[in-house]
C-alpha cells in the first residue's frame, strides 16, 4: 500500500504531457461548448432580447415577471405533476413488468422484447404514431365505438381536460420497457439462496418481496430514480410533437413553455430565465437525491 501510494505521488509531480493533453483538450472543449454557453444563458436570463437587437439588461425583471405569469404557473404545476405521474407510474409499471417477466419460461423473451421495443423508437416517431391513434377518427375512437363505448369518443389531444394525460401515455409506453430492463438486471443479481432461505423460514411471496427483493434492489432504484427525474424534467419532444403545450397551455411543461417563448415569441431573455429555472430544478432534485443516496450507501 505504502509503496504504491508513494509511487503514485512521485509520478503525479511529473505528469507526462500526453496525459495532460488528454485532460486539458477535452476540458477546453467542454468549457467552450458547454460551460461558456451555459453562463451566457444565465446572462441572457437577466436581459430582454428579441434575437436581433442587442440584449437589454433588465436585472431580475424576467424572474419577477414569472411570479405573475399564469402560464408559467400552469407549466410549473404540470411539470411537477408530470414528474410524479410519469416518474411514479414508469417505476411502478417497470418493476411490475420485471417481476412478471423475470422467470425463465418458454417464450418469455418475446414478451420482454415486446415491452422493450418502444424504447428503440425515437420519441418523435412515437409521438407521430400516437397522434394518429388519438385522431378524432383514429384507432382509439374507432375501438371505443366498436365496443359500444361511442359516448367516450373524444378529441383527446384537442381537449384541455384530456390533452395532458393523453400526452403522458406515449411517454410512459416508451419509458416502461427501459425501466423494466434496469430492474430485470437488478433482479438477476439477487442471490437465489436468499429466497430459498426465506422459503425455508416460511415467508410468503409478499414477505419475500418486502424483505428481500426491495432492499436488494436499492442500488438499482438509485439509477432508476435518477434516470426518471432527468427524463421527466427533460420531457419535451413528445409533448411538442403531440400538442405543442396546447390546447391553450393545458399540457404546457416548463420545457415547452421555454421553447415557445424563446423561439416562437422570440422573447429570448424570458426563455433563458425559464431555462435557468429548469436547470435549478433539475440540479436541485438530482443533487439532493444523489447526496442522500450515497450517504445511505456509506
Amino acid at each position: 500500500m505504502v509503496l504504491i501510494g508513494s509511487a503514485r505521488r512521485s509520478r503525479a509531480t511529473r505528469v507526462p504531457p500526453v496525459v495532460l493533453a488528454f485532460v486539458l483538450v477535452p476540458l477546453l472543449a467542454e468549457v467552450f461548448w458547454v460551460f461558456w454557453p451555459a453562463l451566457q444563458g444565465f446572462y441572457l436570463s437577466l436581459t430582454s432580447w428579441d434575437g436581433l437587437a442587442a440584449p437589454k439588461f433588465v436585472g431580475l425583471g424576467n424572474f419577477s415577471e414569472m411570479l405573475h405569469d399564469a402560464v408559467f404557473r400552469t407549466a410549473a404545476i404540470n411539470t411537477v405533476l408530470w414528474l410524479l405521474l410519469f416518474g411514479g407510474l414508469s417505476a411502478a409499471l417497470g418493476l411490475g413488468a420485471a417481476l412478471l417477466l423475470q422467470q425463465e419460461r418458454r417464450g418469455i423473451g418475446f414478451y420482454r422484447a415486446a415491452l422493450f421495443l418502444p424504447v428503440v423508437f425515437s420519441l418523435v416517431a412515437t409521438a407521430l404514431v400516437w397522434q394518429a391513434m388519438y385522431q378524432p377518427d383514429g384507432l382509439i375512437n374507432n375501438v371505443l365505438e366498436s365496443v359500444g363505448l361511442g359516448g367516450w369518443k373524444h378529441a383527446w389531444l384537442a381537449d384541455q381536460d384530456t390533452a395532458f394525460y393523453a400526452v403522458i401515455v406515449p411517454a410512459l409506453w416508451r419509458q416502461v420497457g427501459y425501466v423494466m430492463v434496469l430492474y430485470l438486471a437488478g433482479l438477476k443479481g439477487i442471490d437465489p439462496a436468499l429466497y430459498e432461505a426465506a422459503k425455508v423460514d416460511g415467508a410468503t411471496r409478499l414477505q419475500q418481496f418486502r424483505h428481500i427483493t426491495l432492499p436488494q434492489l436499492r442500488s438499482v432504484n438509485a439509477v432508476v430514480l435518477s434516470v426518471i427525474v432527468i427524463d421527466s424534467l427533460r420531457s419535451f419532444d413528445v409533448v411538442w410533437a403531440l400538442t405543442r403545450g396546447g390546447p391553450y397551455h393545458s399540457s404546457e411543461l416548463l420545457s415547452t413553455y421555454m421553447y415557445s417563448t424563446a423561439f416562437q415569441s422570440l422573447r429570448l431573455g424570458y426563455g433563458s430565465a425559464l431555462a435557468v429555472v429548469i436547470f435549478v430544478l433539475a440540479f436541485g432534485v438530482i443533487v439532493s437525491y444523489l447526496v442522500r443516496a450515497f450517504r445511505e450507501a456509506d
Partner: protein, 430 residues
C-alpha cells in the same frame, strides 16, 4: 435523449463539414482559376418551400438561372418550421445564406429596421420590376429607410373553398351576404354535413386566424385591423368583441373536429364531402389530387357590413437578401431573374398553379378558379396579408392560443381577450 444525441451527432457532422469546407475553400482560393471580382461560389438560396411540388418548381427555376451563365445559384431547402425559427440567426450571423424565400410588409420590415436586409432600389429601376403595381412597390419598401428590400414573385388569395359537385348535389348556391351564408350553413347542417371545416388542430392552429382576420376586416375594416395588429388598439376593445359576436353566429356550424385536426386533414374532409366548405388559402391545392382540382371553386368571404370597404387577404410571397452577403452583384442578378415573367411562369408550371404571378406580363395558369381569384383580388378596395404577416411571427402564438381557446370555451371570451391583450403587450413592448 434521442433529440439531444441527434443534435450532438449532427453538430459533429456539421463541424466536420465546416472543417472540410474550410479546407476546400482554401484549395479554391489557391487555384489560379478563381473568378476575379466576385468572392466565389454560387449564391445560396435558402428556401422554406418544402412541399414536393414547390420544391421541384424551385429546382427548375434554379436550373434555368444557372443555364443563363454568369452567376450561379444553389438551392437549400429547409423545413418550414426550422426556417422560421432560424431566420433571425441566419440574418445576424457573420456568414449568412444570401437569398431567402419570405414575406414582405411588416415581417420584412422588422429585419429592415435593423439593417439586416440588402437594399434593392437599383434592381427595382430595371425593366424586370419597373412595371410592378404601385401596391406591390409600397409593400416592398421599408418604412424606416425608404429603401426597397423585397422582390415579390407571387401572391395567392383566401376564400371559402368548396366542391362544385357537392354544392350541386346538396342543391345550394354561393352566398353573398352574411345572412345568406348562415342560411347555407343551416341547409348543409340539415343534410348531415358539417358546414364549415377548419383545421386548426395539430401544428396548424394559425388557420383559425383567417377567421379572425376576415371577420375583423368585414366588421371593422382593413385599416382598423392593421392598426390593431400593430398595437394601436387593444384586443379587449369593444370593436374586437363585435368580431366575436359575429363569429358566435357562425360557430355552431363549425366542424366539431375543427381544432383537433390539422388543415391538411381538414382539406381531405372537404374533398371527401364530410365538410361543406372551408376558409383557406390556395396553397392547400398543392396537396389536392389532380382530378379534384377542376371540381374546386370558392366564394368571397360574405359581406357583413356593406358600409365597410371590401378588403381581401392576399398574402404575397417572394425573396429578400441578407445585407451581409459577400456576393451582392450575383444576388441581385438572381433576384432580377426571379422577378421576370419567365421565372414566374416556370414556377407556376411546376407547382399546382393556383398562385398568381406578380409580374404584369406573366401568364397565370388560366384556369377558371385562378381567373375568379384574380378578379376578387383586383376588385378589392384594400388588401391585407395575413395575421402574422400584418403583425409579426412573435404575435401569432398569442392569436393561436386565444382563438383555439375561444372555439372550445366561447363563453369565456371576456377573459380570453384580456389574456390575449396581456400576452400581446409583452411582445409589443420589447
Amino acid at each position: 435523449m434521442t433529440a439531444f444525441n441527434a443534435t450532438r451527432r449532427r453538430f459533429l457532422v456539421g463541424a466536420g463539414a465546416v472543417g472540410a469546407g474550410a479546407l476546400l475553400s482554401g484549395c479554391v482560393t489557391q487555384s489560379p482559376s478563381a473568378s476575379g471580382g466576385k468572392s466565389g461560389g454560387p449564391v445560396t438560396l435558402q428556401s422554406n418551400l418544402s412541399s414536393p411540388q414547390a420544391k421541384t418548381a424551385m429546382q427548375a427555376i434554379v436550373a434555368a438561372f444557372d443555364e443563363r451563365g454568369d452567376a450561379k445559384a444553389e438551392l437549400n431547402t429547409v423545413a418550414s418550421e426550422t426556417f422560421r425559427t432560424q431566420l433571425p440567426t441566419y440574418l445576424t450571423s457573420a456568414n449568412p445564406p444570401d437569398v431567402y424565400t419570405w414575406y414582405p410588409g411588416s415581417v420584412a420590415e422588422s429585419y429592415a429596421k435593423k439593417d439586416l436586409l440588402l437594399g434593392l432600389d437599383d434592381i427595382w429601376e430595371k425593366p424586370e420590376l419597373s412595371g410592378y403595381s404601385d401596391a406591390l412597390k409600397k409593400l416592398c419598401t421599408s418604412a424606416s429607410s425608404g429603401k426597397k428590400v423585397f422582390v415579390p414573385t407571387s401572391y395567392y388569395w383566401w376564400g371559402m373553398f368548396y366542391r362544385k359537385s357537392n354544392f350541386s348535389k346538396w342543391g345550394v348556391q354561393e352566398p353573398k351576404t352574411w345572412d345568406e351564408f348562415l342560411d347555407l350553413c343551416d341547409k348543409l347542417k340539415s343534410k348531415g354535413v358539417a358546414p364549415i371545416g377548419l383545421g386548426a388542430g395539430g401544428d396548424t392552429p394559425w388557420v383559425a386566424s383567417a377567421w379572425f382576420d376576415y371577420l375583423d376586416i368585414r366588421v371593422n375594416g382593413a385599416t382598423y385591423h392593421r392598426e390593431l395588429l400593430a398595437g394601436k388598439h387593444r384586443f379587449d376593445d369593444p370593436e374586437v368583441r363585435k368580431v366575436f359576436d359575429k363569429w358566435d353566429e357562425a360557430r355552431p356550424y363549425f366542424d366539431p373536429n375543427g381544432t383537433a385536426i390539422p388543415f391538411q386533414d381538414a382539406t381531405t374532409a372537404l374533398l371527401q364531402g364530410r365538410t361543406g366548405m372551408m376558409l383557406i388559402g390556395t396553397f392547400f391545392a398543392d396537396a389536392a389530387p389532380k382530378d379534384a382540382l377542376g371540381d374546386l371553386d370558392f366564394f368571397q368571404f360574405p359581406i357583413i357590413d356593406p358600409k365597410v370597404p371590401v378588403a381581401e387577404e392576399a398574402p404575397t410571397d417572394g425573396y429578400f437578401a441578407s445585407a451581409r452577403t459577400k456576393r451582392a452583384d450575383d444576388v441581385k442578378e438572381l433576384l432580377r431573374y426571379l422577378a421576370t415573367a419567365e421565372a414566374q411562369e416556370l414556377y407556376l408550371k411546376s407547382s399546382s398553379g393556383t398562385t398568381l404571378p406578380t409580374h404584369p406580363d406573366a401568364k397565370d395558369a388560366g384556369t377558371p378558379l385562378v381567373l375568379k381569384g384574380r378578379k376578387v383580388i383586383e376588385g378589392a378596395a384594400d388588401l391585407t396579408q395575413f395575421f402574422n404577416r400584418d403583425s409579426s411571427d412573435a404575435l401569432q402564438p398569442t392569436a393561436d392560443t386565444a382563438l383555439v381557446h375561444y372555439l372550445a370555451k366561447p363563453k369565456e371570451i371576456g377573459s380570453i381577450l384580456t389574456t390575449w391583450q396581456r400576452s400581446a403587450q409583452k411582445i409589443w413592448s420589447q
